[in-house]
Symmetry: D2
Subunit: 163 residues, 4 copies
């Protein structure tokens, strides 16, 4: 079951080209990830504030990201970010994101918009679970495994450039 | 000839985990790209303010990015970003970036630091030249071709995940 | 009638001190302003995308801001931003913001938290309406006057340092 | 002796109005503060990484800021930020900033540009020294007092709205 996060594009995310700055789109994916961590019931539970605080014994930093940008997004656009995680190894997982502009513009970046006109961005992030001291890879916690299992049933297609 | 941009990591780029936020690292790559556009003599010349204004007849939006994160960066770290562009098609080019922490920490994200201990981030951005109205792909301008040719002699190794 | 905007603090807004970066708190105020522009029915109507695009004949840039920070906010906190505009002159208005942490921490920045324990930030922004070409002050539009009148009934106390 | 920090405005700092986003201008002031902390020899010395890490026993959070915006700044502009601190109380200090566009545009926000045509922004930040646990005000450290004394000889005029 993919998770969907919706919000409005804000002025501070745009740049002088009049559209959302590319790095702000990756930030938008991370927000969806935060919301999915906070919203999904897992067993055992994940404490979101501790999870993102750097104060826990383990952390799950992003070790890779990739994104394809199909259509620009504008201030005031309502977007939905669909998110699907999958486990990669005992100590890592990947999340796929699809950002869709609910009221998307006609224009497109790539000349490919007619075939996938509603998708603005496809992105992935890969996360590795590490212990803080000493810094080394550790297995994903039961809580994270539960989170992945809840959301992972149907993964969206990854960015084409990483196939 | 790769281009190198140096600057200090700022507090506003860090997050509650104590290190630079992943999306801020892609912003750092874009800054190196801006500096390389402004610094390199091309024929004909590129006007940097117009190039990044959205006011020109053509634009070169980013249609893809990918990044591998090897080691965290901290507030106050001096980093160097090495940048190398290469032309992909008549209307597109790719830039490869290597971010190196001049005073890099011992810790690493991935457990691979011993083999490439000084590299914090490898990233790429792909750019397509489009006309603004109507929105369609157009050939790279002579100025951009000159910029690429000046810097493109020796491209660094791309992020491993995009091989 | 003040307008209230609620949202969750995101990881990208925090800094290495573990709390929301001060400039991100002013961005949060601007988001509340954007939401209030988009949500309030005015006569004539305001087109939010055009209003924030830089493509209109007039603009209302921020010419002054001030903020007092009472208590830190953390990733995952749900905050509410109460916003009240008031007209200052025929061509300018001011907005007052109060950011309250719905699940605020016990700690405080200033040692004054016991007397106003639920307020994290008080801020203002001042906006002047200008024509784009030539650049000069112009009267607030009927739509903006309608927006101010709808929300302006009861202004919150401004930041103490600007009294 | 005021401290001066120079850098180029970056694309990621601009918004869809084509100029630097107001909150990014306060971030720019903080960068100048970071550079001034790192650059000035004090006795005893300040460790910049520790100072901005949240890992020290004491912290100096910003409890107030104010800014006046006179002229917009554009991507590619080179700006200089002049910074002057002064001690306010045994546990607090204020920093005044003047941002000047080295190659400033003719346009202005406020209609006042002819009399101060080279100043884009005047801002202040106020900082209170606190202990982390328990959270209460403490005296400024000898290192901070030394930093203030070195730079504080001639303070620039504060933002007019805070007179």
């Amino acid at each position: 079951m993919p998770f969907t996060y919706r919000r409005v594009i804000r002025f501070g995310e745009t740049d002088a080209a009049g559209v959302v700055y590319f790095a702000a789109l990756l930030n938008l994916c991370h927000e969806a990830y935060e919301e999915a961590i906070a919203s999904i019931q897992t067993s055992p539970a994940i404490n979101p504030r501790q999870f993102f605080s750097g104060a826990a014994d383990t952390a799950v930093p992003i070790v890779h990201t990739a994104a394809d940008f199909y259509q620009p997004l504008f201030c005031g656009d309502t977007v939905s970010i669909q998110l699907t995680p999958k486990q990669l190894t005992p100590h890592s997982f990947e999340i796929a994101y699809i950002i869709t502009g609910a009221d998307g513009p006609d224009s497109d970046y790539s000349g490919l918009a007619q075939s996938r006109s509603d998708v603005s961005v496809r992105a992935i992030t890969r996360h590795v679970c590490i212990s803080i001291a000493p810094r080394r890879r550790v297995a994903l916690s039961p809580a994270l495994l539960s989170w992945i299992a809840t959301l992972a049933a149907s993964a969206p297609e990854p960015p084409k450039s990483d196939d």
